[in-house]
Symmetry: C2
Subunit: 190 residues, 2 copies
């Protein structure tokens, strides 16, 4: 779990003993391509760190798949709202590739934060970081054209386009496969 340790320490200093205490609760989980970490009506008990693979986080509303996020190596994630509120999920977390995650249960997270102030600080800072990322995403959604958002994704997460089918990327960008195809055509004509 060196990668997890490293990622945690990129946020704040954590002593070896605190780190050891925290890491003992993480369990290795393997998901085959096409299998689900969660589906609607299930409860989300875990917080995850993605070690290897790719997970899409989406809902299906009125028959339409809406991709909210693609999680790849180094991401912390869960289905946060159901996780916090302890209510059934309305979403899917599906492995788009064979995927390895480190999972820690909510009760164990609580134990860790009670035990270690430094790790609670890590919790706050990582939450803060995702807050900033989300906020930038909101502004991007409102200020940029679809074409600009496509180009930005291409620049920031280029490997995604090799790993994920285009219609899911279209969904992530908030448009239809037809719409994305048009944008790509328009760009290639320049």
């Amino acid at each position: 779990m060196e990668d997890l340790k490293k990622t945690i320490r990129s946020f704040t200093h954590v002593s070896d003993s605190d780190m050891e205490f925290g890491l003992q609760f993480y369990k290795n989980e393997v998901y085959k391509k096409g299998s689900f970490l969660i589906q609607p009506d299930q409860y989300m008990y875990n917080f995850y760190f993605l070690k290897q693979g790719c997970v899409s986080y989406y809902t299906i509303e009125e028959g339409t798949t809406r991709v909210m996020e693609f999680f790849t190596e180094g991401y912390f994630f869960t289905d946060l709202y159901p996780y916090i509120e302890e209510i059934p999920s309305e979403s899917y977390l599906e492995a788009l590739e064979d995927t390895i995650v480190y999972a820690i249960s909510k009760t164990d997270v609580q134990k860790v934060f009670d035990y270690s102030h430094a790790l609670e600080r890590f919790g706050r800072l990582s939450m803060q970081k995702t807050f900033v990322i989300n906020f930038q995403r909101i502004n991007q959604l409102r200020n940029l054209s679809n074409q600009e958002r496509y180009l930005q994704l291409l620049e920031k997460r280029p490997t995604l386009f090799q790993r994920v089918p285009q219609y899911l990327i279209a969904s992530y960008l908030g448009l239809t496969p037809v719409g994305l195809s048009k944008i790509r055509k328009r760009l290639s004509q320049k």
Copy 2:
């Protein structure tokens, strides 16, 4: 500062002595309507709790005002990214009404979190809450039509429409004043 105390305790238990330690750093600040808590190129040293009034958080890009958020009574806010990274702001925080905030400096926040594990927990949980709110907003932006988002805002923050001019609400919803006017007309014809 009873309202601030109450809001903090709505997140997690905080002992009287920790609370007292934390609150001593908050300063009362008053902003006249039309004045700024921050403008581009300034640094953001404070974290705020809005006691009374209304503050709009916006950028001006290529001559166009883009409202990112309206903060009203009970909101915690700052210009988070410049605050974290200690870089100059690119945004405005403008009092749309005479406004009272409680302000705490970043260095004092650090002192408080170092002193009190419980208050750091509050910090994490409040960050987590805004994370959830932002996430819901992202999904709203992507899944709902402009008309639906207008109706939702009308339902969730009805008083905003009495406090804030319509063209700023249009901007917040990501459309032009003309566009919002059309939506309103369409709705009134039913």
